[in-house]
Subunit: 306 residues, 2 copies
């Protein structure tokens, strides 16, 4: 929310309000969907809640709501799928942080799941969250069975292999100990971060039964937004402080992990961010709806400081 001062006051306040409202709705719905901390097996459910309610920005579900609202959909039809996305995102963070993966002790300024609990519990919490995501969409009675099937297929393709998040994580780990080409870097990010962001945008349009051309424009918008998200993430890793990030800055660069500044330098990376930001706005011109909030999200990601 720090970037409020960098945007025209009216815009910033609209977007800040929108994001705050999204976050409140999503958190309330997640609380309803997740087993309580006193439901057996208690430790797994405590671990799930520890990681789901860790102060995440709810970027992916907010994007789904923003796209859905652009197509006039009420939140009631969007929230379950939005929460499923956040469950999948959180499961991936829990597993990525494990000692045999990225080995992170800290996330958003708090101990990671396996540090706060233990490795077995963290693995099972991630596993159960993935299952719950698919269950949530399958049992969402506000949507038609065929709508739910399309969403589950979208989610699964964006999450698994060979075209989703897990493929990206596997390729990222594989690339960690060697230099990567720029093509490879884009491909890793497209899968690891981009796939779920594109999926969020597409799911909003699918729930709204948007036409083929508009779904295609939303897909393009999501792809540029996902890339911008990753580029600014890499930039923040170089420029931000630990207090801003809630994690140790520079960690990615030190571990030889593929990053944009590492590959292109700081100036060229900032240029790339501006170019991709422009392309995202261009994609929105093909959507004949009031896309103000979607445009503001792109601006927000370009200027973010955390």
């Amino acid at each position: 929310m720090k970037m409020a001062s960098e945007l025209p006051p009216q815009t910033a306040s609209d977007l800040v309000n929108f994001l705050a409202e999204c976050r409140a709705s999503i958190d309330a719905e997640l609380d309803r969907l997740l087993p309580t901390a006193t439901t057996a097996p208690e430790k797994v459910h405590q671990a799930i809640r520890w990681s789901v309610f860790a102060g995440g920005k709810r970027f992916r579900p907010a994007l789904l709501l923003a796209v859905g609202q652009t197509f006039q959909m009420p939140n009631a039809l969007l929230l379950n799928t939005a929460c499923a996305l956040e469950m999948i995102h959180t499961y991936s963070l829990i597993h990525d942080d494990l000692p045999s993966m990225d080995n992170d002790d800290l996330r958003r300024g708090r101990p990671t799941c396996h540090v706060r609990f233990d490795e077995a519990t963290a693995i099972l919490a991630g596993d159960a969250l993935q299952t719950l995501a698919f269950k949530t969409v399958a049992e969402d009675n506000t949507l038609s069975p065929s709508g739910r099937i399309s969403l589950i297929s979208e989610l699964a393709r964006a999450t698994g292999t060979p075209e989703g998040m897990v493929a990206g994580q596997a390729r990222d780990i594989e690339a960690e100990s060697r230099e990567v080409s720029s093509t490879e870097l884009e491909e890793i990010h497209r899968l690891k971060t981009g796939a779920l962001i594109v999926c969020a945008a597409r799911c909003g349009a699918i729930i709204a039964r948007a036409g083929e051309e508009e779904v295609s424009a939303i897909t393009d918008y999501g792809a540029r937004l996902g890339l911008l998200f990753q580029i600014t993430d890499d930039l923040l890793d170089v420029t931000a402080t630990a207090a801003d990030l809630g994690k140790t800055p520079g960690k990615d660069a030190r571990s030889l992990k593929a990053t944009y500044p590492g590959l292109y330098g700081l100036a060229a990376t900032k240029e790339a961010a501006n170019r991709v930001h422009h392309e995202a706005h261009e994609a929105l011109r093909k959507i004949h709806r009031p896309t103000k909030i979607l445009a503001e999200i792109v601006d927000f990601i370009l200027h973010r400081t955390a």
Copy 2:
């Protein structure tokens, strides 16, 4: 297949043929559904295939096919869901074998996934297999969207928490270092092993759109079969040799893990197996179809030596 000699020749040969045919169909379909070993990320896909094609008996998918065929369903409508079940079962084995979980180096006489590859790859292979299971059912065009939704909901409930396999694994780990009551032991097994076996039986009946009473009888049959499966698993752990099992016998008992022989002794455990075997046959009497193959499966599990 060793138990062939313990059954009347005709019965044994029918069941042996049925199981062999199931295995061939399921293996061919799994081969079609899984990404090839040369698809990127190669290591994850090699790890998935290493574990899926590790000589598993395909008991859960065969049970689904047996129930479906009892209700006159052709294999074409059953095979995708049967493979999804095997994917979930395999993902659970890969994660259960991890060092922070059961820490098993050997399964079916071969190195486990994290030993053959590495921990990160094994975690990702399990994650991707779970995703692929839901994708497989969601994209099964031989079934109606509402049928697929019912199956995904069934699978998710049997797989996750608080009522499925992962809940059972969490409670099993939690109980490992202390004595457990008989009630607790049954509950752990009902979740850890039983839930997916009941699910297999129910999915066969759901695909066939069986009536409520028959689905209820199939659920009861599946529950008794699942319990029998676990009791005979515990018995084998005490009585079988390493060559029979492909793993170190007695391991469960030594780690204080909750087992039937550990709790009741060998004689009472064998009695319990016979009682549950009888109850499974009783459940079949409520199904007004030719249930010969389902009856033979119960006999097979009672007498199994591996």
